[in-house]
């Protein structure tokens, strides 16, 4: 009898490992679809509470998203593409012409003039050459950007297939989320049932709230920043605005990044320095609105992590996975920390550890 049971366990383990290996390539799709379902589940549930069945609720939600995307395609995306093309053209010209292109920027020119003046006064300093070598190293970094884009075309196509499959997987996750939850709970032994109920609820709550908060923050902060920078006449305003929205995911440092993009854009365009002040003020006001209205409204919770830990996490994420790692590392670490905390506290309360 014992041997049969062990054989059964081995068979189940084998099936599990085989299943994981077989489906491993779609994990990325599945996780993205889960994020998608978490963000839009409140919309479907809201409709369900108003006597709209889940299937219709999902279809209505998809239609709304479709309308929003269509509006974005018509109104915002062309502007973003134009701005991105203009930025790439600028970077390409910089890479073709070497340091001369960067030296055309009025601010860089004025700095060089001052350096030349200093060199004339104190010839021993020889700052001119040092400044030119600094410009040269910046150019080298900029030169790599277009080639990076070309090299990553494969990844861009992968992203397109991801975008296409996520709504389909998301449909089933949204439709049958209650069934999935019940199925998971049904295999839990009675002894652990209450513990698992609490843990699942809290994990669901933490992950759901956090993902929705990130999504709505990117949208709202991105839109506000784009509008403010467009009104100020800052170049690449929409691109910078939404980049600022995405950068906002990183607590403490993200908002500064958004401001930095805006200032850089003003400097490159050679706009009057007072614009830096205006753009900085606009970004600060957006942060005030975000911290006092948007964040409490969409989430009502905050990331309780020390700024030093956040900084180290961002650096580690950037070191390991580049720009995406910098953006995603803090939320991922926060979620893992929260889940572990919930697990630990509840295991302790149920006297299991």
């Amino acid at each position: 009898m014992k041997l049969t049971r062990w054989l059964m366990y081995i068979l189940i383990m084998g099936l599990l490992i085989g299943g994981i290996m077989f489906y491993s390539w779609i994990f990325k799709y599945l996780i993205t679809a889960i994020v998608f379902a978490y963000i839009f589940n409140p919309w479907v549930s809201w409709l369900e509470r108003r006597h709209v069945t889940r299937v219709w609720g999902i279809l209505i939600t998809y239609m709304l998203i479709g309308v929003l995307i269509a509006w974005g395609v018509v109104r915002i995306i062309p502007a973003i593409i134009t701005q991105a093309e203009s930025l790439i053209a600028f970077v390409s010209s910089a890479s073709q012409q070497g340091e001369i292109s960067l030296l055309k920027i009025p601010l860089v020119q004025s700095i060089l003039q001052r350096i030349d003046y200093l060199d004339a006064q104190v010839p021993i300093l020889k700052l001119h050459n040092q400044f030119l070598s600094l410009i040269h190293s910046i150019n080298n970094s900029l030169m790599n950007i277009p080639s990076l884009l070309i090299k990553n075309y494969g990844k861009i196509f992968e992203a397109v297939s991801l975008i296409a499959s996520v709504p389909i997987i998301g449909f089933f996750l949204l439709k049958d989320n209650v069934k999935f939850k019940k199925a998971v709970l049904s295999i839990i032994p009675n002894k652990y049932f209450e513990l698992v109920v609490i843990i699942l609820h809290k994990i669901d709550d933490v992950i759901g709230k956090y993902l929705r908060a990130v999504f709505y923050e990117i949208l709202i902060v991105g839109t506000l920043a784009s509008a403010a920078l467009t009104m100020l006449g800052v170049p690449y305003s929409i691109l910078i605005g939404y980049s600022a929205g995405i950068a906002n995911i990183i607590p403490y440092f993200g908002p500064w990044l958004g401001g930095f993009f805006a200032v850089l854009s003003i400097l490159i365009a050679g706009l009057p320095p007072i614009m830096i002040l205006y753009a900085g003020l606009a970004m600060y006001l957006i942060q005030v609105v975000d911290n006092n209205f948007v964040y409490p409204m969409v989430v009502g919770m905050s990331i309780e992590m020390h700024p030093l830990i956040v900084l180290l996490t961002v650096l580690a994420g950037g070191w390991a996975f580049g720009l995406l790692g910098m953006l995603v590392s803090v939320p991922v670490v926060y979620l893992i920390y929260s889940v572990t905390r919930v697990l630990f506290l509840n295991l302790k309360e149920f006297k299991m550890i």
């Binding site: 209650v178 009675n190 002894k191 209450e194 809290k202 309360e349």
Partner: protein
């Protein structure tokens, strides 16, 4: 046969009985519409307990409310060193009052016979009331009625003793 009866007859004839219809047998859900029962049923998890199996222990967090679908449950609580024990049966609820007063279990519950319980997460229950205010009011009204009835019965039982 008047028109109302005829209508009810036709409704019963054509309406498919679903798993959540059985929930109407519980006093707290008696005046729920089918759709409200369907919404409520989404957070209900059926659990089977064997005779003698522990449902929860004393001092465990109050995580779940149980509706007794089948069987008898023995509840024992410790009041200042004195053991109080009572039984709950079909369509009675375990932990209903406690969710408003406690965050830990006051006693322990054991299945006296093979039992089927419908488990509802305490947090899901609260979320349900908040997300569905109209249904929530109905639900809380029914809970109040049951609690008041319980208090009246208790008083009646104590009066002759006094």
């Amino acid at each position: 046969m008047n028109l109302t009866n005829l209508k009810q007859f036709l409704v019963n004839l054509f309406q498919r009985k679903t798993e959540w219809d059985k929930l109407r047998s519980y006093p707290i859900l008696k005046d729920f519409t089918r759709y409200e029962l369907f919404l409520f049923s989404q957070m209900v998890q059926e659990r089977q307990f064997k005779q003698g199996e522990i449902i929860y222990q004393e001092q465990f967090p109050l995580a779940v409310i149980y509706l007794i679908e089948k069987g008898v449950i023995d509840i024992s609580e410790d009041h200042n060193g004195r053991q109080n024990s009572f039984e709950l049966g079909r369509h009675q609820i375990i932990g209903m009052i406690d969710i408003y007063t406690e965050d830990k279990r006051k006693g322990r519950a054991i299945a006296k016979t093979d039992s089927t319980l419908l488990a509802i997460s305490h947090l899901d229950f609260i979320s349900f009331v908040q997300a569905n205010p109209r249904t929530g009011i109905k639900l809380l009204n029914n809970v109040c009625r049951i609690v008041c009835q319980f208090a009246i019965n208790l008083q009646k039982r104590q009066e002759p003793m006094a």
